[in-house]
């Protein structure tokens, strides 16, 4: 026992440099593709070059005779055992899921679908042998355009379905009892503004291509995978392939980004397990970037028809949303639920009395879609923030005044919205006022006027996005009510080692976020131990046996609270030991700074490390007390967390070329109590870059045969450092009242908020030209056409058009005020 009374400095709130960095900056990494096991074979996938076709013949004979080739398998080899790539979210009872083979058997439904797998001694030999597989297809018409796909008589993607509509999901506030009937609001509206917005198809484009290595062992397998979801993957592999769950071990080693793109169970994972078991050999598969862009799931891709109603004085009275959401060819793990997550967010920060949300999930012959950073909420936030601007124009109001008039005031929290969620806390006024000041809003407005007056070829535009989002997925009861196939809890365990060091086990599965650092800060404060003395264990179902992984900005707001709860249990267990050693009553002990003391009796104390050593020795424990102060906890959140903020963007548009340049980007985010401001800032920066990329740079484009045109980074244009500005990121702190740390998620906020801020700024710059919408990404060509077409001539036809060259842009460009 030490007598030094030294309370450590609080770790929570400190800009700790990350524990994770040491191996990443020195190249001592364990990406899945870096790993190997003895005797390992390599896989290469043959992928369909056709969007939609029946397979008339496959002959792998030549491939099997190529050098180094061990085996070649086609769908026929696995059709009885491969099951379906799992979808865990049947959003409606009658949702149609036609099934999703890992290896296509009779028919291919998107370009990039796996049709055969070569197993060879080297990766090069496996790739060489792909050319020896003789395969013939009978083409079917591609299904590319959602408007066309839902029409009677449309070509069916899947022959075993009656339509291309997988589901129709409806929420209406009158029926739900959360607000007034939408039909009344539409009927009585003084002002109505309608738009069709297009959420273009995006590609998550994590930097580490997906990889999976499988080592078979008896009845089971060990799977290393570049996944966000080792725990869910284990369950799903067991269920899909009939493997005994306890014989399946899944490890997510270093994982290089995900952004939702590594959420689903993938065909490649299932194929790798099947091959490893069939050959009883370890195998590894690593996708190329071209394969990743083509076949790893895509995101967004929604057509949003939205109508807002208001009184003449600017009080919003109703919101009516109808989505067509592209599922692509198959339903992936949570694909159907992604647009449904948006259902709760269209009303955003506003007090809207009546609301309807209808979403139709549509099959097309494109790459399947699933979660991409924000998952449903960016789409919702974009649509509401865009149409608030359009409503402001219609009303002749300042767009910020319209927002202020309708948003929930800080004194009105907790506030139950028309979508049925209860926002626990927030202060939209404070974040907005701070953001306006930081960007110098009034000066920029004045400059804008000057540029307009002088007909400056470079015009200035100012865009607003006042957003909130729901994250910290998720209360299990809510997920149950949405028919999701799992809960939303998270698990943690704390193991106190005899030397006073601490192992923390989490079911969250990091892939760049900084869990090891932030969670250590929390534990250090809770237990009064040194930050350096805390080690996080994660990403291996053998050591972190229970969890629901990382997505939906849940790790801190859910997983972090599980850790807090486990720490509380450790303290309570240690308290018994300390009381025994101090010969005091438990009730008289105070715990702070890692030490138990008898209240009012300074001098005698027992540290938590002393308790850990005491239970290790177990020589002198109170009767009936087990020799352990380890504890675990599983936390199921009562509610989501609702980060919010105000994002402001100033763009300069070169009206001669259409080039948009972000001049200034300011955001004030409220993510509650900060654990590590450095990590928060990093999350916001990265989120902004992805949201801005949707607004300006990225789109997955298909040609009219259904082939992905943007199949490499040459054409799928991720922004580089030279394409992005420096951001001004600040915070307000309104703690969440839902969890004991007061934290809210931060992983997706920047992406959710930034896209409409940029597009609103562009449209603001172009309003004098009669422009009232712009298709994303707002490429120079689109901006130029918008200017020179008087707002009528939106996206160019041809290859840049939505859904490929065959799609008319006239009914989809939202070009005219309705």
């Amino acid at each position: 026992m030490t007598a030094v009374d030294e309370r450590p400095e609080a770790e929570i709130g400190k800009a700790r440099r990350r524990k994770e960095d040491a191996h990443l900056i020195t190249g001592r990494t364990r990406w899945t593709d870096n790993l190997s096991v003895p005797g390992m074979l390599h896989l290469a996938m043959l992928r369909s070059p056709m969007a939609h076709a029946t397979i008339t013949s496959i002959d792998p004979t030549d491939a099997r005779s190529r050098p180094g080739v061990v085996a070649v398998f086609t769908g026929a080899d696995f059709k009885d055992v491969q099951g379906n790539v799992p979808c865990a979210w049947p959003v409606t009872p009658d949702m149609v899921n036609p099934g999703a083979p890992s290896l296509a058997v009779d028919q291919v439904n998107f370009a990039g679908e796996c049709v055969a797998v070569v197993v060879a001694r080297s990766k090069a030999e496996a790739q060489d042998a792909l050319e020896g597989i003789d395969i013939e297809y009978e083409p079917l018409p591609p299904v590319l355009d959602m408007d066309q796909a839902v029409k009677d008589g449309a070509t069916l993607v899947h022959p075993n379905t009656e339509s291309n509509r997988s589901y129709t999901w409806v929420f209406e506030s009158g029926a739900a009892g959360t607000g007034a009937p939408i039909d009344d609001a539409l009927r009585d509206a003084e002002v109505t503004v309608s738009r069709r917005f297009v959420q273009q198809r995006l590609i998550p484009a994590f930097m580490e291509p997906r990889a999976v290595m499988v080592e078979p062992s008896g009845e089971g397998v060990t799977v290393w995978s570049a996944t966000q979801i080792p725990h869910i993957l284990r369950v799903m592999l067991a269920l899909t392939l009939g493997l005994p769950e306890h014989k399946v071990r899944v490890i997510a080693p270093d994982v290089g980004g995900g952004f939702g793109g590594k959420i689903p169970v993938t065909p490649e994972e299932i194929i790798s397990v099947l091959v490893a078991r069939r050959l009883n050999k370890p195998v590894k598969y690593t996708e190329s970037r071209s394969e990743s862009l083509m076949a790893a799931h895509h995101g967004r891709d929604q057509l949003q028809d939205i109508t807002i109603t208001a009184t003449r004085d600017g009080t919003v009275t109703g919101l009516d949303v109808h989505l067509l959401a592209d599922m692509g060819a198959y339903l992936r793990l949570v694909g159907p639920g992604v647009p449904i997550l948006g259902a709760f967010m269209y009303n955003a920060i506003y007090k809207i009395p009546a609301y309807r949300f209808v979403c139709e999930g549509i099959f097309t012959t494109k790459t399947p879609t699933d979660a991409y950073r924000g998952a449903g909420r960016p789409e919702a936030t974009f649509a509401i923030e865009r149409i608030m601007d359009e409503l402001a124009v219609e009303l002749g109001m300042d767009p910020m005044e319209l927002r202020r008039k309708n948003w929930i005031k800080h004194e009105e929290f907790p506030f139950t919205t028309v979508a049925g969620l209860t926002y626990d806390s927030g202060n939209y006024e404070a974040a907005t006022d701070k953001a306006l000041e930081l960007i110098g809003w009034n000066d920029l407005r004045a400059e804008q006027q000057e540029r307009r007056d002088s007909n400056d070829p470079v015009q200035l535009g100012l865009g607003i996005s006042t957003f909130t989002e729901m994250c910290g997925l998720a209360p299990s009861r809510v997920l149950g009510s949405l028919s999701y196939g799992a809960g939303g809890w998270e698990h943690a365990a704390i193991r106190m080692l005899p030397t006073g060091k601490v192992e923390v086990v989490t079911g969250a599965s990091p892939h760049g976020q900084g869990h090891e650092t932030a969670f250590a800060q929390i534990v250090a404060d809770k237990l009064g131990v040194a930050f350096e003395d805390v080690e996080l264990i994660h990403g291996d179902t053998a050591s972190s046996h229970k969890g629901l992984d990382t997505y939906g900005s849940r790790s801190l707001a859910v997983g972090g609270i599980a850790i807090v709860n486990a720490a509380d249990k450790v303290i309570e267990k240690a308290r018994k030991i300390a009381a025994h050693l101090l010969e005091a009553n438990e009730a008289d002990l105070e715990f702070s700074g890692g030490k138990f003391r008898v209240a009012g009796s300074p001098g005698s104390e027992v540290g938590i490390a002393d308790a850990a050593l005491a239970v290790f020795a177990a020589h002198n424990l109170p009767d009936g007390v087990e020799p352990s102060i380890d504890a675990e906890a599983t936390y199921d959140p009562e509610n989501f967390s609702f980060p919010h903020g105000t994002h402001l963007c100033a763009v300069e548009i070169d009206t001669e070329t259409g080039m948009t340049k972000i001049r200034k980007y300011v955001c004030v985010d409220d993510v509650g109590t900060p654990i590590n401001p450095l990590i928060i800032e990093g999350q916001v920066h990265g989120g902004l870059a992805q949201g801005i990329a949707q607004a300006l740079f990225e789109e997955a484009v298909y040609d009219d045969a259904g082939n992905l045109t943007t199949g490499t980074f040459v054409d799928y244009t991720l922004p580089s450092a030279a394409d992005l500005p420096s951001f001004t990121t600040e915070r307000t702190e309104t703690p969440s009242t839902t969890n004991p740390l007061g934290v809210k998620g931060v992983g997706e906020a920047g992406t959710i908020a930034s896209t409409p801020a940029v597009v609103n700024a562009i449209v603001d710059a172009l309003r004098p030209f009669g422009v009232n919408d712009i298709r994303m990404p707002a490429t120079p060509e689109r901006v130029w056409r918008a200017i020179h077409g008087g707002g009528k001539h939106r996206a160019a036809g041809g290859t840049t058009a939505y859904g490929g060259a065959s799609t008319s842009t006239s009914d989809g460009d939202g070009g005219d005020l309705q």
Binding site: R17, I25, N34, G256, H511, G512, A721, D723
Partner: protein, 155 residues
Amino acid sequence: MTKINVKVDGVSYADEVEPRTLLVHYLREQLGKVGTVVGCDTSNCGACTVDLDGRSVKSCTVLAVQADGGEVTTIEGLAGPDGELDPVQQAFHENHALQCGFCTPGMIMAVRDLLRENPNPSEDEIREGIEGNLCRCTGYQNIVRAAQAAAGVKS
């Protein structure tokens, strides 16, 4: 197979390679230098950046046979004998210039090259100097800060 002699991170190697072997695959698969990674097929992402004869190159767009007789430095060769970090590595850590870390080896090699050519770059020069390296996590802002810090430039 073709015989090559290369010096990698200070160690000389003599190996047989297929002519089609990319330098990055030689480093990863024959030398076990898996710190250098492959992020794309088209020379866009820069994750595979190493120094070849004192200049940064994308090792996925160089054949191993082209490096014959050359000297390669990878991310694994930067730290000193006692593990002291290169100033750019240190700056990446101090400035939270990495998240998932997959682009980081290439990004660090690119920043080192930039600072070798231009020891005192402006923000724009830094941004252009690393335009051949894609990062999906950081939004680049802290990478720019790290480069400034490593250059001793006040941001």
